[in-house]
Point group: C2
Chain length 276, copies 2
């Protein structure tokens, strides 16, 4: 593992690290914020998964999460959104290929050799992070924005014992019924939609419910609402009698200004579960 | 108007008053909590509409609202849920007739002569209250529980300039599709379902959206969930891109223990809108 940078930040350290990933068969870069408390021992960790076109860096510099995490003594991990590199398949569209991994393990050509973001975020990066940094494996939570909200929800729902709480900002809530999803799931997983189902938060919610604390924020003026389809997840959550809070935030759009506005609430929400 | 009782309560006064109602053509009783601030001038007011079988008294003694209202300097009004008296039509069922007015103006026999709860809560009681007590007509908000949640939502949606904010505890969210609604709306309003539509929060939301602050709490263990149908309102709210917060509260049921648990949040939510 290589240290790209480490900066003092809210009394702790914002680091950026790269390493060879076996899952993605390429080098991967991630951001990690460690609060001051990490100098004395392991701290809880909140995963933040980013959206389309993002790297590990966007949320790290624009989501305003470190101050709130410092206040709560919580670490933040910011993984990248896909494998990267000249040898890695890509597409001219912004929403397929590099920067658009959708947090699945691709089974189809040309994506299968590198696009294994599920394994990377669920297995390989946690292993590396817990082996290397003072993080509490038993106290993990997950959040994300847009495609990263999709990732956070589907990871949490498929690994119900892993994360103590889950939240999302404007998640892609029903990808198997959206142009943000159908194209990518077909490309990465193939035409058989049975393989898509675990990667659709609405379908997972309908199928199994979700019993962990859940918080979803969505702006009413988000230009991508027709692609995000939060109404499907809302209906599914309530029909499943699943605990959770859904907030339609008046006037907010899809940007990091929206994410930053409600980050304090999300970090406090996760802190409550992480320290329970 | 006759004073039934007045008790010192959280530094203010919890009163119970009766008066002849022209709308309901009978005597009606209501509760009013005035905070200490009302001694110095008009205060904002939060309407609380109660559920099936309740009178003005249930929430007044069981919802734990006065302490939070006192902290915010807000008055509370607790209307009755129907006309009352030996001359007033009734039904043996707990969910029709006295104690079950559903906040509509009945047009059908035998209900039409007295069951005009819409006019009573929307017009006559406000007129009386604003003429008699130090209340700010320009600062009103509304909440309610179960059938009263239905009343609060439909009053707020049909009178969008009246209430600065609306909330509900386990509201009957889609009465025209529920056994808590179809029977009563048919009895009071007749078979023409066009007359029901204004009295169905889900249909109103679909039709017009709702642009005021909105907060809905629903227990996941509510035994009446299949009658309340909050999933329909959730889907409608998000599809309408309406601002609002919906919380599925894990393990809570339909009782006043549920209402009391979240009353602090609701009063604070309304206070923010009332003092904005």
């Amino acid at each position: 593992m290589k240290t790209i940078s480490e900066n003092r930040c809210f009394g702790g350290v914002q680091g950026v690290y790269s390493h060879h990933s076996d899952a993605c068969a390429c080098d991967m870069t991630f951001g990690l914020f460690l609060p001051a408390e990490a100098r004395d021992g392991p701290v809880p960790v909140l995963w933040y998964l980013s959206g389309l076109t993002c790297t590990h860096e966007n949320a790290m510099v624009k989501a305003g999460a470190q101050g709130w995490a410092a206040e709560q003594g919580i670490a933040l991990i910011f993984p990248d959104t896909s494998p990267r590199g000249d040898d890695v398949a890509d597409d001219e569209a912004y929403d397929l290929g590099q920067g658009a991994g959708f947090y699945v393990n691709a089974t189809q050509a040309p994506w299968a050799p590198h696009f294994r973001m599920w394994d990377y975020v669920a297995e390989e990066l946690p292993q590396l992070a817990f082996d290397t940094f003072p993080l509490e494996r038993e106290r993990q939570a997950i959040t994300g924005h847009s495609m990263g909200g999709h990732g956070a929800l589907t990871l949490a729902m498929n690994l119900p014992d892993r994360y103590r709480s889950a939240s999302a900002f404007a998640p892609i809530a029903h990808p198997s019924a959206s142009d943000w999803g159908r194209k990518q799931l077909a490309a990465y997983l193939g035409a058989d939609q049975a393989s898509w189902a675990p990667h659709d938060a609405t379908l997972r919610m309908r199928e199994t419910g979700f019993d962990r604390p859940l918080l979803i924020d969505q702006g009413t003026d988000d230009p991508f609402l027709d692609l995000l389809q939060p109404e499907a997840l809302a209906e599914a959550m309530v029909s499943a009698r699943a605990p959770g809070t859904l907030r339609m935030q008046k006037g907010y759009d899809h940007s990091y200004f929206f994410v930053a506005t409600f980050m304090e609430d999300h970090v406090a929400f996760h802190a409550e579960a992480l320290y329970a």
